[in-house]
């Protein structure tokens, strides 16, 4: 299966035509699931991920509740049809690790001390996966938490930086991750100026690592603007429609 494939062409463009510092096209939506307290959907490249948030609600079973703060439960799960080869529905070791790091990426942003003995559930379903899904999942989870009205210090935003053919590249796709020399997902909380998720596999010199961190931060800030727009979008749209509809003043 591994043919020698060039990841960067003569013009410095990647397999999907992007420049090294370019993000894949991103589309986001909130409030699409009626039952959830909050929900969001993201498409980033060919990633399609949906997130639902339930809570804060009573901790069940009671013994997992904490006396001084809410418990966050997070499940990252890939649909069997989400990858090239069918993935078994049972949680894999990778999904278990990713559920943990995503929860830990979102925790610092949530005012969990406001809801002792309660629970916030975050359910992430990857409907289609194409590299960088944990980052897109974090970005969408922040939207779902905001949509649920859960108090946050800030939105959490995430993006990965990879190394392909010796060059650092933002937002690697699946093939760039598989054939590349490094992959580093980063989650950032802008108001706190802190990084809440940082992983890397591959090989980086000190200089490459520092540069990759900066590239990740810049990419995250671009996605952060999109997150804010998405949250406001629905309400601004309704406002626009209302203002365009003439209203007759009542008889009173």
């Amino acid at each position: 299966m591994v043919a020698i494939q060039k990841l960067i062409d003569e013009n410095g463009l990647r397999v999907d035509g992007r420049r090294l510092d370019e993000l894949r096209p991103i589309k986001m939506e909130v409030g699409l699931l009626a039952n959830a307290d909050g929900s969001a959907y993201i498409e980033q490249g060919r990633n399609k991920i949906i997130v639902a948030v339930y809570g804060p609600k009573e901790a069940q079973p009671k013994h997992i509740g904490l006396h001084d703060r809410a418990v966050i439960r997070c499940r990252y799960h890939m649909a069997p049809f989400s990858t090239d080869e069918r993935k078994s529905p049972a949680p894999s070791r990778r999904e278990i690790e990713i559920s943990k790091v995503i929860r830990e990426a979102l925790e610092p942003a949530i005012f969990s001390e406001y809801f002792p003995r309660s629970m916030v559930d975050i359910f992430i379903e990857v409907l289609q996966s194409d590299g960088g899904s944990r980052c897109a999942a974090i970005t969408a989870s922040s939207l779902a938490l905001a949509d649920a009205g859960i108090p946050l210090r800030d939105l959490v935003v995430a993006c990965a930086v990879g190394k392909i053919e010796g060059k650092l590249a933002v937002d690697p796709s699946d093939i760039e991750d598989k054939l590349g020399e490094a992959d580093m997902p980063v989650a950032f909380i802008p108001v706190l100026g802190k990084i809440s998720l940082l992983q890397m596999d591959g090989m980086f010199t000190e200089e490459e690592f520092i540069e990759a961190l900066n590239m990740a931060k810049n990419a995250c800030m671009k996605i952060y603007e999109l997150q804010k727009q998405t949250l406001k979008q629905r309400y601004l749209q309704i406002e626009k429609e209302i203002q365009e509809t003439p209203v007759q003043k009542g008889e009173e």
């Binding site: 307290d37 909050g38 809570g55 804060p56 609600k57 009573e58 809410a70 005012f111 406001y114 809801f115 002792p116 003995r117 309660s118 905001a146 949509d147 649920a148 009205g149 859960i150 108090p151 946050l152 210090r153 800030d154 939105l155 802008p190 108001v191 997150q227 804010k228 949250l231 406001k232 309400y235 601004l236 309704i238 406002e239 429609e241 209302i242 203002q243 509809t245 209203v247 007759q248 003043k249 009542g250 008889e251 009173e252």
Partner: protein, 228 residues
């Protein structure tokens, strides 16, 4: 310095004000900067900055009237779901007027799982579940009616200044409307078409609470039977 104008839409993490301001509801202060915790409309009351959220569950407040549903019966009393992270507790003496109940069976007959009650929050702090009373005028078990949901932070819009909005609704439709602060509205009326009008009006409030001129639009809707 204020970063936004009154009633502008803000998101979590938005910087609302910098300087000598007080962090009101749904905001927090870091140094001398005040940030929003939620998606909602920012507002200012002199030096206080606060956000009215557009979404969220109900956080109980003592004195609030709430509409809830019984989820469990035990010898300690009833658990009532009030659309909050915490279930409300209705004690046995409050309902029966007696402090001791002989059998679980008769408790269920008095108030069973699934029954709807209108109650008042008598105590709440974050260390224990909120307590409810159904003793008092206008409180008690509910036999019939329709329950409609509304985001709790939009309930003030439904009530209106000095009850202006809710009174219009009651007058124009002739329905009995009990507004739970927890975002559960009980509607009772003989004419199902009138009940539908109330349901639709509440839906409009849910969708348009953040836009000014709502009272006029609701009035218009009730008179003409037409919506947005």
């Amino acid at each position: 310095m204020r970063m936004f104008e009154r009633r502008q839409l803000v998101t979590p993490g938005d910087l609302l004000a910098e300087g000598d301001y007080i962090a009101g509801e749904n905001t927090y202060k870091e140094g001398n900067r005040i940030y929003s915790q939620k998606l909602g409309l920012v507002d200012f009351d002199d030096k206080k900055v606060f956000v009215v959220p557009l979404r969220g569950r109900y956080i109980p407040k003592v004195g609030d009237i709430v509409v809830g549903q019984v989820t469990d019966v035990s010898l300690n009393g009833w658990s009532v779901d009030i659309n909050s992270p915490y279930k409300a507790v209705l004690s046995v003496p409050d309902v029966t007027g007696k402090s001791f109940s002989p059998k679980l069976d008769s408790l269920t007959k008095i108030l069973g799982v699934g029954e709807v009650v209108v109650g008042k929050i008598t105590a709440f702090d974050r260390t224990r579940d909120p307590t409810l009373t159904i003793k008092g005028a206008g409180l008690g078990k509910v036999g019939d009616g329709l329950i409609v949901n509304l985001t709790p932070t939009k309930v003030p819009r439904l009530i209106g200044r000095k009850g202006s909005m809710i009174n219009i609704l009651k007058r124009e439709t002739g329905c009995e409307i009990i507004v739970g602060q927890n975002g559960r509205i009980l509607i009772r009326g003989r004419d199902s078409k009138k009940v539908e009008l109330v349901v639709e009006a509440i839906r409009m409030i849910e969708e348009q609470a953040h836009i000014s001129g709502l009272t006029d639009r609701i009035k218009n809707f009730l008179k003409t039977g037409k919506g947005d």
